[in-house]
Symmetry: C2
């Protein structure tokens, strides 16, 4: 009878700020990082589960401390009991009455809870010998409903409604699984459009993206409206009229600013404007959507829990949503959000990039296609082409589509050497970073 014997944490950081990869209007110099967690077991096979919180540098130590604070809820548990009741396991973390005060269900503590829940899913999927997407896709509707915490949702979605929705999708599961395995799932790319890139690089990368098979690209906006008009024109000319062009303001604007700014960009036939304002501002997104119709409005990568997604949908504030694998309370809360999106008929374009977010979120989108919404060709998963080499089971992209991962687990495991070399501040990469800089830099 195997037990979880340790919750190990690692402060892993990559010095990405050197290259301006990942630069946008709110995040000028991110060092992409992961507060990485491993649930070790005493199973003789060496079974373990892996999860992570993505951050952009400073504060990754705080996030790691939050993971540690969950040890008492995890260490000592029987593996069978955890993997057989992932709904109960998730609730036992979100319901710790003292830790709950630090959220509730938001910010550092909630992201830590999400990473530990995801690590338990990795464990469960390895145990079952399946990738997470298939583990979910082969569950009964009743099992999926049992994974979801419907607290605070029942005015928008009841367990019975969720069950009906899942049952309606059941007959097509086998055909969609075959379709997924053959075709993969559509991807879109944000690699061309970081704010720190010069125009020539934007145009070249946009053309390359189309040549690589992507049907949607996204660029960052929000620092200067004249620059944005120019960059949208360059991007649109590079990709032609048949490829979708989305823009992302990363929370830069107030409501009035967003409406005025987006009217300047409306002529570029945009697929959506992402994060026009504060991720907390449900009513603000609704006002912006009314003000810039028919340009579609979107948000979600910083939407902190299912209660906020519920309201975005209830208020008609968005045309589509992003989900993020490492922001909310793990697979379980993302299933709640996918069920809500299906109920309201809103498309999902999962957020990815960062460290490991592509690896994780593909499983959720694929499970959604097979067992929940039944849709993939009107949506796509974000793709950014860096840091995948640090993962044991990295994403595979072919002709602008994510190929379904086939290894057991959640694709969250990092190479041991990658973890060791990038440990902050003691790993080799960071020791060398300090040696290259003059002492006066203060690092």
């Amino acid at each position: 009878m195997a037990r979880i014997v340790a919750l190990d944490t690692f402060d892993v950081r990559f010095p990405t700020s050197r290259q301006l990869d990942g630069s946008d209007a709110m995040n000028p110099d991110p060092d992409y990082s992961a507060a990485y967690v491993t649930l070790r077991t005493d199973d003789p096979s060496g079974l373990a589960g892996h999860g992570l919180v993505f951050t952009i540098g400073r504060g990754n130590d705080v996030q790691t401390a939050a993971l540690q604070a969950l040890s008492h809820l995890v260490v000592g548990r029987e593996v069978d009991a955890v993997v057989d009741d992932l709904g109960g396991f998730a609730r036992s973390l979100t319901d710790d009455s003292q830790l709950r005060w630090l959220g509730p269900e938001k910010g550092v503590m909630h992201m830590a809870i999400g990473a530990v829940i995801n690590a338990a899913w990795d464990l469960a999927a390895r145990r079952a010998g399946k990738p997470v997407w298939r583990l979910i896709a082969e569950m009964t509707p009743e099992q999926i409903v049992g994974l979801v915490d419907f607290r605070y949702l029942t005015d928008a979605l009841t367990p019975d409604e969720a069950l009906a929705l899942l049952r309606a999708a059941e007959p097509g599961r086998a055909a969609r699984t075959a379709q997924l395995l053959e075709q993969g799932y559509p991807a879109y790319t944000t690699s061309p459009g970081w704010l720190g890139y010069p125009d020539e690089k934007l145009a070249r990368l946009a053309r390359e993206a189309v040549a690589d098979g992507f049907r949607t690209i996204k660029i960052k906006v929000g620092l200067n409206v004249e620059d944005d008009v120019r960059r949208c024109r360059i991007a649109r000319e590079a990709i032609g009229p048949d490829i979708a062009l989305a823009v992302d303001a990363n929370q830069r604007w107030d409501v009035g600013d967003a409406i005025a700014w987006m009217r300047r960009l409306a002529s570029f036939d945009l697929a959506w404007i992402e994060e026009p304002t504060s991720p907390d501002d449900v009513l603000g997104h609704a006002a912006i959507r009314r003000g810039i119709a028919p340009v579609p409005v979107s948000t979600g990568e910083h939407t902190h829990n299912r209660v906020m997604f519920k309201q975005l949908l209830q208020a008609g504030a968005v045309d589509l949503i992003q989900i993020d694998a490492a922001r909310v309370g793990g697979v379980n809360e993302n299933l709640a959000i996918l069920l809500l999106a299906a109920k309201f008929g809103v498309r999902v374009f999962p957020h990815a990039g960062g460290v490991g977010l592509c690896e994780l979120v593909q499983h959720l989108a694929m499970a959604d296609f097979i067992a929940i919404s039944g849709r993939m060709d009107d949506r796509a998963i974000e793709y950014v082409d860096h840091l995948h080499e640090h993962f044991v089971d990295p994403v595979r992209i072919r002709d602008g589509r994510y190929l379904a991962p086939m290894s057991p687990g959640f694709s969250a495991e990092m190479h041991g050497e990658s973890v060791r070399e990038h440990l902050f501040p003691e790993g080799r990469v960071w020791r060398e970073e300090r040696e290259e800089l003059p002492v006066s830099s203060g690092i």
Copy 2:
């Protein structure tokens, strides 16, 4: 030219779970705690600033780590530059682009930012030789507007509107200051109504509260509706028809539950129902308010920033709000919230209790009375009568009213001995706690 030379943090916890003080429907066994922060300076007078985040036990270490993560933004700064531009100081903390990812502006990281901002206010007020309430109340309207970050607020409140509102309140400041110093500010008490208390204790404490001069008492509800009906009846009988009775569900219900439950309690002429559902659910509060009118609806102690308060007001979701001194981004963000409340004409009943929350929030309510809303007799500050003895400048209550604090600063400083004895896990109190318990308890 004095500088801030250190940001010291302390994990301070009180073993309150022994007595069921503070027990409610979501928090059965809190150990009231403070992640306590001191900004030390090299000023020869020993000048320092103090702040804290209130938590209820586990996770206080995570909160302390978050305070530490702000050191690089604070240590080395000139004291004059900080106290002369508290608006700029506050923005420099909320705008750290890497730390912002951990919120943004919510949860563990935002509460830490709030505590450090409050510590800077303590420093500024000590330097000025005034209590914080008076420091604010003597600022010009322009200075107060300069303290506020209007980002994401301008669709509801512009700087010009705030300025007009503050100017309109200016002529009455002197008279209201005199009134405050003479009469104090109304308090209400939650001490009688903790869920863990037996009926007899509830009735006795409710009668004592009225005898002590309180005009409003509040009791906890939400675990069992029949118990709540009985407890409301006992409380109403104990206090008579002329004293206000409020109830607090601490986020226990979904929207439909809240409406059904509160219809059972409506006959007790309630002053408000507090936190009927998730603090994130703006639209849910609006639906509940429509469903149980005319019972007033309230929330705020867990409302994580000004953007959420803005929406509660825009949506007509609440009849009154609670503010909390240690949940949002310090004095500065609370000034934004008080200005919003004044603009929308909504009453403010500050949340207190915990550790040091009474000491802090009284300053905000008093500054609001003098310089912003101009009102105090239609509102009251929560009061709970424990743990004040650990503070150097504890609140003073007379005839159910808070007397204005007169010492320079923010009343946030704890006695050095209280901090040392309650340090977790190494302080004397916790060493003794462990010795008293059998080894098998796992603590």
